[in-house]
Symmetry: C2
Subunit: 342 residues, 2 copies
């Protein structure tokens, strides 16, 4: 960016660069006369300090790097919103980088952050965090969000996926459902695996058989899974999807197929994205305050940058939000997908 430099200001005010720097950084030991001269010169030249040079010399950038798997869907926009809220509160900027699917791009993303940011928030539920972070010097502050088990001694935030999934299964059982299918997320994704594990454990505890199908976390995999069930006439009376977007896909497909939710079949999701309460029937789900998660990640990163040595894992329990899609059935006889076809 073409612009005046501090030396231009010094020349215009007929003082040294050190004095200009002192004035602009509000140091005390500057005579009022000189201060005014410098301020006038800076204003006349429209001087704006060069943040890059400043952070090089201070070894501090006032920016934090955010490395995410992708930028798709409301989960990420909420996360970003929370991070921005906390960051702008503290006068920090966010530098975004997405690593897409593979961990090579992930390492690359981490590298391009070097020398630009004071610390990193890394969310990588889908790849091996040890491999990813091994390229990062231990001195670099970083907070991990929803990462798989690893050997990194770093502060971390996690969602208690297992507890959440258990809660949901118990809720479905309590409302009379027995043949509960789980539409899981992609294999290898830690959130997906933990939710699946919680589901299986809770089903076993309830003495019910697990029925599992794999999805991708995207809406259309919910649609196609639901279409398969309808076509096969599967004998299920509840769908617990591993995230809200898939649950919404399931709802869409059921609506098109003329299957009544929640009367014939219940549907539940995970995340409580803003959409969940807006669709109709509104979606029963597990609430994670996503924006708050982002906020906490940035807050803990700042603590670490400021020298704290708190490597604890913060486990955030989701809360069950019961809405229309899992209301108790009115007619216990007309249930399941088969009830429609028969």
């Amino acid at each position: 960016m073409a612009n005046a430099t501090i030396r231009d200001v010094a020349r215009a005010a007929d003082v040294s660069v050190a004095s200009v720097s002192r004035v602009l950084n509000r140091h005390e030991n500057v005579r009022p006369a000189l201060r005014e001269k410098v301020e006038a010169a800076a204003a006349k030249l429209g001087y704006v300090p060069h943040a890059g040079a400043r952070s090089l010399s201070l070894a501090r950038s006032n920016a934090i790097g955010v490395v995410l798997p992708e930028l798709h869907g409301e989960f990420f926009s909420e996360l970003l919103r929370g991070m921005d809220r906390e960051a702008s509160e503290r006068g920090l900027q966010l530098l975004l980088s997405n690593m897409h699917a593979d961990s090579a791009r992930g390492v690359e993303a981490l590298h391009t952050m070097r020398g630009r940011v004071d610390g990193l928030v890394v969310m990588a539920p889908h790849i091996d965090p040890d491999q990813l972070l091994s390229h990062l010097p231990v001195g670099v502050p970083a907070v991990m969000v929803n990462c798989a088990p690893h050997h990194q001694p770093r502060p971390e935030l996690r969602i208690d996926n297992v507890a959440g999934a258990r809660m949901m299964v118990e809720h479905l059982v309590a409302t009379g459902r027995r043949r509960i299918v789980h539409l899981a997320g992609p294999a290898g994704n830690i959130d997906a695996e933990e939710r699946l594990g919680g589901y299986e454990a809770a089903m076993a505890d309830a003495g019910l058989p697990s029925i599992v199908e794999r999805g991708t976390f995207l809406e259309d995999s919910g649609v196609s899974a639901a279409e398969r069930w309808v076509e096969r006439g599967d004998d299920v009376d509840a769908v617990f999807a591993a995230n809200d977007m898939m649950a919404i896909g399931v709802l869409m497909a059921f609506r098109r197929a003329g299957i009544a939710v929640p009367d014939q079949i219940a549907v539940a999701g995970f995340d409580d994205i803003p959409l969940a309460r807006l669709i109709s029937p509104s979606l029963t789900t597990l609430r994670i305050d996503i924006a708050l998660l982002g906020e906490r990640a940035v807050a803990r990163l700042i603590e670490q940058i400021d020298g704290a040595d708190d490597r604890s894992i913060e486990l955030r329990a989701p809360t069950l939000v019961v809405r229309d899609t899992t209301s108790p059935r009115e007619d216990p006889e007309n249930r399941g997908i088969r009830g429609n076809n028969a």
Copy 2:
């Protein structure tokens, strides 16, 4: 970030810093033997170049600044997603800064970008762009998105709000609605004003009286406006909200009040956020490909950074997407909010 510097690598490989720099930037004139020595030393030290120092010396940061009014709602997440898509394609990073409501914070946001980014994407529908950008040297590349009229000779992207609003009014009239109320956005917001203008012009052309209420672009202002109409028993048979979030609020309130959409009253929005097709009844709206808007903004910024001098305004026309909320009525007699109360 604590890490090895280029001088450390030079020392370890027993060569000069210039040679290290040449090797790492893949210059041709380096003997293979020296190249290998340097690469080995760099690998052993885990050297990652300091991007801040690099951009200071190159006067090029490979980052672009994004200044938005806020980060709320799907509009911004879609915009960001599009910008990221184009930026990461070109190996650029996005530096976020939101300016909240006031233009003082906006100027501040622009200033903190100085010396960090190669150019800016500025979206500021709600404040005076002349005032905002007057603090920016003309040499700084910047693309404006949805800004009010101004005197800035800069590339710009706009939505054709007037044409969009006309299309919607014509569609509502064509499906038999006559008493069409417009729920406008906040005064002073250029998108809100243009959509209002388009509505008024189209209503006048159709020989119908304008009925206007102000909202905030947020969902709850749609809720409260709809509640007012219901309470007063206003004689309207269509609501054209200035954005989708307000339209969704209106739908929620109508549903709670037991008013049938589209039979008693039609509802339409503007933007086509992903949610619009997912709610039920699905929302008729004007589609702006928001992600594409973000993509184009970044693409044009890159052109400008690379020296192009194209200051044209790119006007993107929305397309009408007709969904359930404006279907023709089944019973032309039972219409309007009054039909319910009578």
